[in-house]
Symmetry: C2
Subunit: 356 residues, 2 copies
Amino acid sequence: MASYCSITVDLGERSYPIIIGSGLLAGGYDLAASVDGPDCLVVSNETVAPLYLDTLKSSLHGREVAEFNLQDGEAWKTLDASAAIVDKLVDMGANRDTTVIALGGGVVGDIAGFAAACYMRGVALIQVPTTLLAQVDSSVGGKTGVNHARGKNLIGAFHQPRLVLIDTDTLATLPDRELKAGLAEVIKYGAIADAEFLAWLEQNIDTLIARDADTLAHAIQRSCEIKAEIVADDERETGRRAVLNFGHTFGHAIEHCVGYGEWLHGEAVAAGMIMAAKLSSIDDGSVERLRELIARAGLPVAPPMVGAKQLRAAMGMDKKVQRKQLRFVLLNKLGDAHVTAEFDPAALEDVLGAAG
Amino acid sequence: MASYCSITVDLGERSYPIIIGSGLLAGGYDLAASVDGPDCLVVSNETVAPLYLDTLKSSLHGREVAEFNLQDGEAWKTLDASAAIVDKLVDMGANRDTTVIALGGGVVGDIAGFAAACYMRGVALIQVPTTLLAQVDSSVGGKTGVNHARGKNLIGAFHQPRLVLIDTDTLATLPDRELKAGLAEVIKYGAIADAEFLAWLEQNIDTLIARDADTLAHAIQRSCEIKAEIVADDERETGRRAVLNFGHTFGHAIEHCVGYGEWLHGEAVAAGMIMAAKLSSIDDGSVERLRELIARAGLPVAPPMVGAKQLRAAMGMDKKVQRKQLRFVLLNKLGDAHVTAEFDPAALEDVLGAAG
């Protein structure tokens, strides 16, 4: 067994570990021990499966392993895709003790997770995220779901995994653009919860982009620690967990307006974080620090030219809307955030105005 | 306010009341007080809506009320039906604080409940069951879901309602066949959990079929008490809750083989309970007592002539199968049941042989 770091998401009887390390798929972690029943279904996609499926299967000794590949990309994150996984589970005669293993990025994890949540009202799920974004964000915390033609993640379920297995070796094949998109969520954790980590990111952003293994591992670990702590505190997002959506109200609207998959989720969140920072009552210097870090990460610092009206309409469908009132995650200062329905409408118009 | 009886399903912060009484929709209960947000969607069907929708709406003063009608019948309990409700929620600009109200029988409650479970990862649900079967069983306990072409309730979620509102006046318009189908589940509670209640049913079965209001109200109340107690003990059916499926392994197989909707769920469960009783190690006199009560309730006491082989194949897809092993709910005696994978294979062949 290789060495690894383990972080527990503390949710009582639904607690589970996040395992982070190198060489974990290639024998470094006993994955089969986390598969309770006799069989499992590995859901991946046409891009990731050729790279890691065989290695993963070698960790599943003694288990019947079925495979299902999705099409690659956010555009395919639909109810039909989850339904196709359910069909596959029926085909293989899967029962309540079958385990679904999601091998891939956030899209694979969200679709496969939702299928696992719905099949027989919930079967076990293991997340094996292979993109930085999925490793630091979407694979942890139990949010699963698919997009609706008129809104992102409008159909879904909370369904916690039994295990999140993060093999940092999988980042070797990740395109630069996706690595940077993942860094957007890493920066988010610093901005909302840990000023010290944000300062560390400012010092190490170039090393991260150069894919230094130890530096990436530390960034993943600290991100997962922050997410695990917030999720344990508010699993169903009745309160504090919503701070994890910093930049996401704007980000989701951007994704919706340009069409899913045109901008990567992390890119939209990057621009969205700067918009949210501008809407916050923080000093210009802090906004500028965040803007500079995001720029150095190679991420967009302004929304696309889609028009303020379109963005505003798309935000009306955001899940954070309560009693028909828009809500935002705003910064108190770098490293500290809150959710609020109170903001300066004129400032919002300024921020949206930048979208042309 | 009319008088009513209230039973609490005790699930910590997800606890909720089951309210049972007469005249509750027509002003006897303040339904609007249970709708937290500004708006709600009443999901019903083409049969029930003309009878009770206007009355229900009169209880929703001060709330925006949207309506959606499903087609009537188990054959329409599909993923498409739940997706159509989600479309309607998107159309009306529903948010996380929107409430879904299911007005109808078990099919309406299951489909609407699943849509409420999935929309934005879960919005509030109120069950207003209008059939005896839904009042004593499907509206209580949080099981929601739809059928797959190859198995009943294969797609679904646990999603507890905020309130179950049972107006016994709605039974006035229930066809005799459906009333009797509901009595199958009432008899089930006696058989698995309460010998005294079973004896009471033997004394009152004719009065129940004659629709005496007070006798029906007592049967509903005792059934809900038993279900609430079992659900509170094992919400996710990891153990004891499975006894509620007495007769259902056979019953689901029957429904599947004859085609959903040909036999009512309660009718299939009635025949299934006798099959399960025969498979149990109980004396012939007890089996005969159960058979006689079910016959007096006007329910089938034997499976349809679909063939043992077909029934066995359909049972292979049952959710209670673990590690590819069939499991049954068997009686220790009348009023006491357990779940087991241990049974006499020859006895199973005998029981299935009765199916032709």
